[in-house]
């Protein structure tokens, strides 16, 4: 039997009737038509379905939609401000961190969340930080370069606040 749930996605409130067995990934893509978040493995191994739930990165394929009732979610669609790309998105574009683009939404959200608490991360730490996001195209080199470049932005922000 369906349940009515409320999801606050990228600042917008959605009310939707879902079966308990529908994953958050399915709800986002099939009910809310936010198809930026991708289905890679549906096993919580590849991270293509990474979204930010209550400030923390999670694999949406392992969460039931009903568990997210009343919660705040950020998807890749929520990063840019109008026509202006988010600094992490810009860095991925500038540094060639995107090839086929399928891992990219999850990778960018993972990178964004990681940099917010680790703006001074080394290459090694970045690699461990994105360990939950697999890429079959790039070999990760350009992705790590892009994240390092984007880290400048987070250090600058931290310096302004500090």
């Amino acid at each position: 039997m369906k349940r009515l749930i409320t999801l606050i996605v990228n600042g917008q409130t959605y009310e939707v009737a879902v079966e308990p067995r529908q994953s958050l990934l399915q709800v986002l893509r099939e009910e809310l038509h936010l198809t930026g978040t991708k289905e890679g493995c549906s096993e919580g191994e590849c991270g293509a379905c990474t979204v930010i739930l209550d400030g923390k990165t999670v694999d949406a394929c392992l969460i039931f939609g009903v568990e997210a009732n009343g919660r705040h979610i950020v998807t890749i669609e929520g990063l840019a401000t109008g026509e202006e790309l988010h600094p992490v998105q810009k860095a991925f574009a500038d540094y060639g961190g995107v090839q086929c683009g399928f891992c990219t939404p999850g990778m960018i959200l993972a990178a964004k969340a990681f940099l917010e608490t680790n703006p001074n991360a080394t290459d090694e730490e970045i690699r461990w930080g994105i360990a939950g996001n697999l890429c079959r195209c790039t070999g990760y080199v350009k992705i790590v370069e892009a994240i390092k470049a984007a880290a400048h932005h987070y250090r600058a922000m931290a310096a302004m606040q500090g």
Binding site: M1, R3, E19, P20, R21, S23, S42, E43, G44, E45, G47, T50, L53, K56, T57, V58, D59, L62, I63, F64, V66, E67, A110, A113, F114, R127, W128, G129, A131, G132, N133
Partner: protein
Amino acid sequence: MKSFEYFDPKTVSQAIRLLQKYQGSAKILAGGTDLFLRMRHGVLSPEVVVDIKGIKALTRLQYSSQKGLRIGAAVTHAEVQAHSAVQRYYGALVAAAGWVGSRQTRHRGTVIGNLCNASPAADTAPALLAYRATVHIVGPDGEREVALDDFFSGPGRTVLGPAEMVTAVVLPPPTGTCGWGFLRRTRTAIDIALVSSCAVISADHGTCSEVGISLGAVAATPLRAVQAERVLRGQQPTADLVETAAKTAATECRPISDVRCSADYRKSMVDVLTRRCVQSALTMLRML
């Protein structure tokens, strides 16, 4: 995935009543990182899923110098890693928790859910065993406590009864200064452990007053290397004694060969990793 009914009770009693009512066709949902997968693959098809994340008492992670550390059933690995008292007094647990899956996994998966899953390779188990953790269980017949040593009954099996649930895991407060070491071998960043070792040692006037040495992924359950512990307990540690303890630990494990690596490799690694973990603990205590 088969349809099911979803409940999110607000108290432990409500949860137990649901487990009782649905007689084995109800499953507890905490982080969901294990349960969701099994349901998706049809390994489990519960009629009812009981989400315990709404039970406030189970979301608590608390430390006091008298009672030690209490980890509620809905506490995630990420929360354990980030807690200042855990970082200060239970360093091996922080290290172990950091090995569970990816950041995404650790933001949802709970320590207790992982223990109830009872994989022989459960990452936090060796650390919790070395810290002498107790498991708090609630069921229709009331509450009981079981030492973590006695909680696992085999691969994927625990001593939990059909309508019982774990509400907390409790670690005693540290006695004096504590040194630790935790090491794990793995193929890739988020793969399951091939073999892991953990040592937790307390010092008293130059001797090892309390010694916990535990191993992961080298037996049917996470294992306490009690004979290795005995080698060091009450002794003034020397390089030779450390080597003897490590070699003893290797004789206590009962590894299998599987797709990840051979039993021989696991046995060799128990020796190497245990030696390094004990050395790490003693170095922290400035005893070596």
